[in-house]
Symmetry: C2
Subunit: 230 residues, 2 copies
DNA sequence: ACAAATCAGTTGGAAATACAACGTTTATAT
DNA sequence: ATATAAACGTTGTATTTCCAACTGATTTGT
């Protein structure tokens, strides 16, 4: 890890991130000065946050690519997810003092990250700049969004068999689209991964449901039937 | 639904809720005046929030009991969860303008709820009271807490079979306790419900793992073994 | 236009899970 | 202390899922 003297922050880029959305390019330097982020440079393979730590800063990947990893009781490593440039990590832990990290964050390429202390985001700065409000709004919106996504996925996955998982997911997609005909953003393998089931078994189940008249589909386009099919 | 003239808000009670934690009883009246909540009285069975709505207010149950319900494409109702007095509802949707409710919230007893507009929480009030900061901190902490709980549950549930779900859960509990011996907060049926598996199948799997020497247990007390058992 | 790769559906056998039923132990109430 | 209820483990069977392998259709790259 090293301290980059001149972190190549592009304001044009930052203002498009979920955290800084709504702040203009002119306002950004003031805001950045206000929340006083730290910049860190990590080499490929370096650990950014270590399981067990108690963090108080939110991280944003500026360049490179980092991964969230979980190590269980027996030392088995499990990749939880990727964090791409512009995205946040550690934002759930940073606002819960005393809550120890259950994951590690690792740079899988040379990466530059921005670390913003949670207090700097929440406390009203001396210059009372309004950007703080916007930042907190963005932060809340972002955690709320993740929350909803997790809740939805969980509501599908808590179904006991593949058919019910599929119906739960498809029903949600249909309601979201406001139509009984809709497109899903997954191909079969991705859908199976999302629902944590076997692809072929899922395909099989889809076929059965089609034969029973519950639904029709063609690739990613689905049609749910409200009439109880024959 | 009616407008209670004199909602029986007890400041002593409010200051103990997750939302108002850290605000003293003396400060509460000022803060409450500042965020200008609305109070509503619902009869048993009345709908508080309707699926499809776009809400901008966070709700808190003051008395009674409300339930979060999901209705799918075919009209099947599914109970998502209960909200007890002092707890929040709608907090994920309130901060995402344009995001339509995928659930309904229903009073299952006569209930009084407090509705706080999201903007009142986020925008700095004229009197620039510092409580706002605390309120937002509490809100962020609360959504962060839910986020972590959801992420953890999901990481167990994404395992393909009962054994791996159990090991994922138990490993997490062990790491949280910082010991290979620990107590879990569930009985067998609750654990099975949490992991979305069949209780007897789960019991069976626990027995097999005990016989294989992976772990030992007695009721809710578990002991994970790091050595690869014979 | 053609070759190669990806994607989707199908099938059969092995493995795991759900379900129902039952006996024993542990906890709770009177 | 005793009766009652709840919790836990066990077993057998029906059902479901996983896995591997294969075919045909569609997409992609050249």
């Amino acid at each position: 890890m090293s301290m980059p003297k001149d972190p190549q922050i592009s304001y044009a880029y930052l203002k498009k991130t979920a955290l800084f959305r709504g702040v203009t390019e002119e306002e950004l330097p003031t805001l950045i000065g206000c929340i006083a982020p730290r910049y860190r440079d990590f080499e490929k393979g370096e650990i950014i946050l270590r399981q067990g730590e108690d963090i108080t800063a939110v991280g944003m990947v500026l360049s490179g690519r980092v991964q969230v990893i979980e190590e269980d009781f027996w030392g088995n490593r499990n990749i939880i997810g990727d964090v791409w440039p512009g995205e946040l990590f550690g934002e759930s832990y940073a606002f819960l003092p005393g809550e120890l990290l259950r994951v590690s964050v690792v740079a899988i390429e040379e990466s530059v990250v921005m670390l913003i202390d949670a207090r700097h985001m929440l406390e009203i700065c001396s210059s009372a700049c309004w950007f703080h409000t916007r930042l907190v709004q963005n932060l809340l919106a972002e955690t709320a969004r993740k929350n909803l996504a997790l809740t939805r996925k969980l509501s599908h996955m808590s179904k006991r068999n593949t058919r019910e998982k599929l119906l739960s997911y498809l029903s949600g997609q249909s309601l979201a689209a406001g139509s009984d005909v809709f497109e899903i953003p997954f191909n079969r393998q991705q859908l199976a991964d999302y629902l944590c089931v076997d692809r072929s078994a899922m395909s099989n189940e889809l076929g059965k449901m089609r034969d029973e008249g519950l639904l029709a589909f063609e690739r990613s386009r689905f049609h749910l039937r409200s009439e109880i099919g024959a």
